[in-house]
């Protein structure tokens, strides 16, 4: 693109526009209300970019391009349409892998005699990152779709091998930049990057794959960016670096949500230990009050089940406020009061009356249990024994046969308590390990306070 054809100008301004569209898209994507629109926008941007780019093409290769686009489009579309919702993470991984591969190829094909060593470097980078993104994503896919054991695969001396690889990558890099004509370096670079991608991911446990994917996604962004430098295309740079940056952030956010550090996740040894840990604990799924808010915001029917913990936390006032906010938000809120909740008969009544919760909202156990199946979210506030499914399920349990509030029948259950400790009866509670249960750890008053602050 040395001399400026008017055509090129148009194209580039179109690029500016589509870059803007990507940005807007991402912005909107970060709020539930506008997310879908955002996705459309960025898709639009993409379309625009592709179309104008095609304007630039000589008819000769056009048919090949057409072939590529059609094949790819069909595959992508069908896959995207047919796959079950549950396997979407795998899909994302797979797509991401293709993206990486694409960058690899672009970089590769961008090689031309007499390029500045800067250009060569970027080319090399795009190949490298592209390659490892490719295989890395494939492994991630395999692990998620259980085509391959989800548990971390470790072999002794892994670290060493990795370091060796990294060194040799650098080596190849240097050589390649010095003498681009020598394809050997190129091929070995490709080979190594591909291998490295595999080795980087296998030692990470299936549970951590989402994080990995998000990271690889950010890489593929960087790959695109590098490719952009290679072919001197601003849009690639902008879009690529956007994805790169946001990907990193997103990865960090995800780590925070599962309170892990990124290094925890990546560095095999640790990653492995950690994951097995969680296995032992069964699947306890913690949730931050902030995230809890987003689920509550979308819920239309909510049941609050208070217990002794609400009393200890003196959370009745915030509970009342939460109830009001939820109602303003259009949800229907009821309280399910178990006869023995608390430490004295009517303990919950005293507190809720103090907080001025209308009597009409208080439902007895026998009235609320039947409708539990239609409850979107059951919020268990410092209750334990009185919502313990063991009373139904575990013949042996000391409380077997005692009627409890069947929160586990609700679509989602939030349990607000400080720890995994047991309640008055001193027995474990299988509820905490159910699929639809999310544990919100911390003093109930604190946690609810934080949820409330999300409303605004």
């Amino acid at each position: 693109m040395e001399e400026v054809t008017i055509n090129a100008l148009i194209i580039n301004f179109a690029y500016v526009v589509s870059a803007a569209l990507f940005i807007l898209g991402l912005k909107k994507l970060s709020s539930p209300a506008t997310a879908r629109k955002g996705n459309m926008l960025s898709a639009l941007g993409m379309l625009l970019a592709v179309v104008v780019t095609l304007l630039d093409q000589s008819i000769v290769d056009f048919k090949w391009i057409a072939v590529g686009i059609i094949i790819g489009g069909v595959i992508g579309a069908t896959v995207a349409r047919v796959v079950a919702m549950t396997v979407i993470p795998e899909m994302v991984a797979l797509f991401n892998g293709f993206g990486g591969a694409a960058s690899l190829l672009v970089g590769w094909s961008a090689i031309a005699p007499g390029q500045s060593s800067f250009t060569i470097t970027t080319i090399f980078l795009s190949i490298l990152i592209g390659g490892m993104t490719f295989t890395g994503s494939l492994i991630a896919y395999a692990k998620l779709s259980e085509k391959m054991p989800g548990r971390p695969l470790l072999f002794s001396g892994q670290q060493i091998v990795n370091s060796v690889l990294i060194l040799s990558i650098i080596g190849c890099g240097v050589m390649f930049v010095n003498d681009p004509s020598n394809v050997l370096w190129l091929y070995s670079a490709i080979a190594i990057s591909v291998v490295f991608g595999v080795l980087a991911v296998i030692p990470i446990g299936g549970a951590d794959m989402p994080v990995v994917i998000s990271l690889l996604n950010s890489y593929s962004g960087l790959a695109a960016c590098a490719a952009g430098f290679a072919v001197e295309n601003n849009l690639l740079i902008v879009a690529g670096s956007l994805v790169g940056a946001s990907g990193i952030i997103l990865t960090q956010i995800m780590c925070k949500a599962m309170n892990r550090s990124l290094s925890n996740v990546l560095f095999s040894g640790f990653g492995a230990v950690k994951t097995t840990n969680t296995k032992i604990e069964g699947e306890v799924k913690p949730l931050t009050p902030q995230d809890a808010y987003y689920i509550l915001e979308a819920a239309s029917s909510i049941a609050i089940i208070p217990g002794y913990g609400m009393a200890v936390a003196q959370a009745q006032h915030v509970v009342k406020e939460l109830q009001e906010l939820l109602e303003e938000n259009g949800a229907e809120v009821v309280f399910g009061i178990h006869p023995v909740a608390g430490r004295m008969p009517g303990h919950m009544n005293v507190l809720l009356a103090e907080a001025d919760v209308s009597y009409d909202l208080l439902m007895e156990m026998d009235d609320i249990n039947p409708r539990m199946a239609n409850v979107d979210v059951a919020i268990v506030i410092g209750a334990n024994d009185v919502v313990n499914p063991a009373a139904r399920e575990m013949e042996g349990s000391p409380i077997y046969g005692m009627p409890v509030i069947n929160v586990d029948h609700a679509r989602t259950v939030f349990v607000l308590k400080r720890s995994m400790a047991s309640g008055f009866a001193g027995i474990d509670n299988p509820l905490f390990f159910k699929d639809n249960t999310r544990m919100i750890f911390g003093d109930a008053k604190e946690s609810i306070g934080q949820m409330i602050r999300e409303f605004s």
């Binding site: 994507l29 459309m40 960025s42 290769d61 579309a77 899909m91 797509f95 694409a102 094909s109 979308a298």
Partner: protein, 95 residues
């Protein structure tokens, strides 16, 4: 000089990227990921560009066409999957 501009652009977009994704609800992590993944399919454009202007047609074409195919999968698939996810999300939030 270009390289200067390019770096400018790089730096700015990185900052922008950070700013944009500052705090997203966990509910949106996956959609967001797959959306930005779709964006990273922008290499498609690079591939197209190459596929046209390259010194070694035959070889490059094959690579480029490969690139185009893969990138397109990434782009099309990515956006559609994202949309599907968000669609159900919307439904819930909708009421």
């Amino acid at each position: 000089m270009e390289i200067v501009f390019l770096t400018f652009i790089l730096v700015l977009s990185i900052f922008l990227g950070f700013e944009l994704i500052n705090k997203v609800p966990a509910t949106l992590h996956t959609p967001l990921m797959s959306a930005s993944n779709a964006i990273s399919g922008i290499t498609l454009v690079g591939a197209l560009a190459i596929a046209g202007s390259t010194s070694d047609p035959v070889m490059a074409n094959w690579l480029a066409v490969g690139a185009v195919t893969l990138a397109t999968i990434n782009v099309v698939g990515g956006y559609m999957v994202t949309d599907r996810m968000l669609a159900m999300f919307k439904k819930k939030a909708g009421k």
